[in-house]
């Protein structure tokens, strides 16, 4: 790609910039029109920046480290099942975390978070890992068969 191309914006970018910029201004207007205090406004922006930093500085590095750990430590036959199990389990825990912590207890409304989440969240995780475990066993047996066949090619 030439430098000239690199400098020249595509029309679709300018279109996105125009419409997207307008929508962003509308968002700011909604916030200002609601007349929150300056502290509240700053608090909201600070929260967004903090979430950004938390994502870039903690969440993604942790995911990357766990991913690399699985790739390096876990046997090849277990690698894909492990990845599938972890990728599906993470959002389940994320969604189940507030109910698990019982954050609605302070509301005095027993119809919020009404289940025994210390049972239901592990149940959901178990329902994910059960088929993953079966899949891992199938892969392990296939791997073992291939190794056996490789060891005795004449057979």
């Amino acid at each position: 790609m030439s430098d000239a191309e690199h400098e020249r914006p595509r029309p679709i970018f300018l279109f996105g910039l125009l419409i997207g910029g307008g929508l962003m201004v509308q968002g700011a207007r909604v916030l200002f029109d609601s007349s929150p205090t300056t502290a509240a406004w700053i608090g909201l922006v600070a929260t967004i920046v903090a979430l950004d930093l938390l994502n870039d500085g903690v969440v993604l590095p942790v995911i990357s480290v766990v991913g690399r750990g699985v790739a390096r430590v876990v046997s090849p036959w277990l690698r894909a099942p492990m990845q599938v199990g972890l990728i599906i389990t993470a959002p389940i825990i994320a969604v189940g975390l507030l109910p698990l912590l019982g954050t609605a207890d302070v509301t005095g409304n027993p119809t919020i978070q009404p289940l025994n989440y210390s049972v239901t969240v592990p149940t959901a995780v178990g329902l994910v890992w059960a088929p993953v475990a079966v899949w891992a066993v199938v892969r392990w047996r296939r791997e073992a068969r291939l190794e056996t066949a490789g060891a005795t090619p004449a057979a």
């Binding site: 595509r10 970018f13 909604v30 967004i48 959901a124």
Partner: protein
């Protein structure tokens, strides 16, 4: 092309093609969330040009259920997308042109806003709101900003996305020295026992599906028994369904039926007209099976019995009206009143409900009288009614 390309990060799943597919999934999901969210906002605070009719009765139930379900399903997709493009954060120099700087600057509100929308939405459905700004205002404002920055991002990445999707999916094992071309077409098939591109994308879709499966029972009855993560169960609560605000929370646990009066005031009425509970019970009753659909995404259908609002206004002598405002006995201002437009008033299933499923309303469900109309958000189904203002 003005945007930087995904560098050769050395990871077989961090490809432009994976980023493109996840980006498209996110674009669709965010559009659904944005459209349904703005609709919900318009219904709750209608401008003069917007009229929300009473039919079909379950439309709001569907749109708001879709809003929350899509938002929850987006969680793994957002994280997967951000993980895929994470190496872009460390590209040096970070920008080479002014336009590229604009595109990258838009990533801050896009990423921060997306995460805020998911976290605040997740908090809200659990009635966990640690924000100093009102949830609805913050969620609404940040949604505009986020979708705006998404459009800028999409405009910048449109060429990259299309190119990544057009390339053939040959199995080329990437390495740190591979070219961009090689990186972007790599890993359709796993080579190290781990997930390949298709497996990874399928797993992310599976994660979104699992989250949906374990939560959507809060609005979709057939999956109720496996709603393991849902913060509400539509079959749990007084009289068999949940409440958002209890009678205790608003100090209305002991409304005396003997002294209770529902007052009608306003346009065309020189003096207020009031009805006792006995008078309302003596009026012709109407029964309707209507959904109660909460903005937090749970919903349920119950059979309500009471006096049609239209009939009560007729009995009060109201000749003309454009809308009515129903006001609760509660003193706290939050959810104290709601507007019922002309179309909704004229729908005979818009009830001043006295009973649910044949039983007198429980205090938590708004005893002695609550509004229950078709196709209205739960927050507008005002409970513990004390006054109707005609305008």
């Amino acid at each position: 092309m003005i945007a930087a390309r995904l560098p050769a990060a050395g990871h077989p799943l961090r490809t432009e093609r994976v980023a493109a597919v996840l980006g498209i999934a996110l674009g669709i999901s965010m559009t659904i969330c944005f459209a349904t969210g703005i609709l919900s906002h318009l219904i709750q605070e209608p401008p003069s040009w917007f009229v929300w009719g009473p039919r079909p009765a379950g439309l709001y139930r569907f749109t708001q259920g879709l809003h929350v379900a899509t938002g929850l399903a987006m969680i793994p997709i957002v994280v997967a997308k951000l993980w895929t493009v994470y190496p872009m954060l460390f590209v040096w120099p970070p920008v080479q042109t002014v336009l590229q700087a604009v595109e990258r600057l838009a990533l801050l509100p896009l990423i921060g806003g997306s995460i805020f929308l998911l976290v605040s939405g997740l908090g809200n459905i659990n009635i966990w709101r640690p924000w100093s700004v009102d949830f609805r205002t913050a969620h609404h404002a940040v949604a505009w900003v986020t979708v705006g920055s998404l459009l800028i991002h999409m405009g910048a990445k449109a060429g990259t996305t299309l190119n990544a999707l057009r390339r053939p999916t040959t199995s080329v094992e990437p390495s740190d020295t591979a070219s961009d071309e090689q990186i972007s077409v790599a890993s359709a098939v796993p080579a190290d026992g781990g997930l390949g591109r298709r497996g990874f994308l399928a797993t992310v879709a599976g994660a979104a599906g699992a989250v949906t499966l374990f939560t959507v029972g809060q609005t979709y009855a057939p999956l109720r028994s496996i709603a393991f993560l849902a913060p509400r169960r539509p079959d749990m609560g007084p009289q068999g369904f949940p409440v958002n605000r209890t009678a205790r929370a608003v100090g209305l646990t002991n409304v005396d039926p003997a002294t209770y009066r529902l007052e009608v005031t306003g346009r065309g009425l020189s003096t207020p007209v009031s009805f006792t509970l006995a008078e309302m019970e003596a009026m012709e009753q109407r029964t309707a099976t209507l959904p109660i659909a909460c903005v937090e995404g749970w919903s349920t259908e119950q059979t309500w019995t009471g006096v049609p609002l239209r009939a009560l206004l007729d009995a009060a002598g109201v000749q003309e009206m454009s809308e009515v405002n129903v006001v609760s006995l509660q003193r706290s201002r939050r959810l104290q009143q709601s507007v019922v437009n002309r179309d909704q008033v004229d729908d005979l299933d818009t009830l001043l409900a006295l009973r649910v499923n044949g039983e007198t309303l429980a205090p938590d469900h708004g005893y002695p009288v609550r509004l229950m109309g078709p196709n209205r958000p739960g927050v507008l189904q005002t409970k513990w009614l004390g006054r109707i203002e005609v305008s």
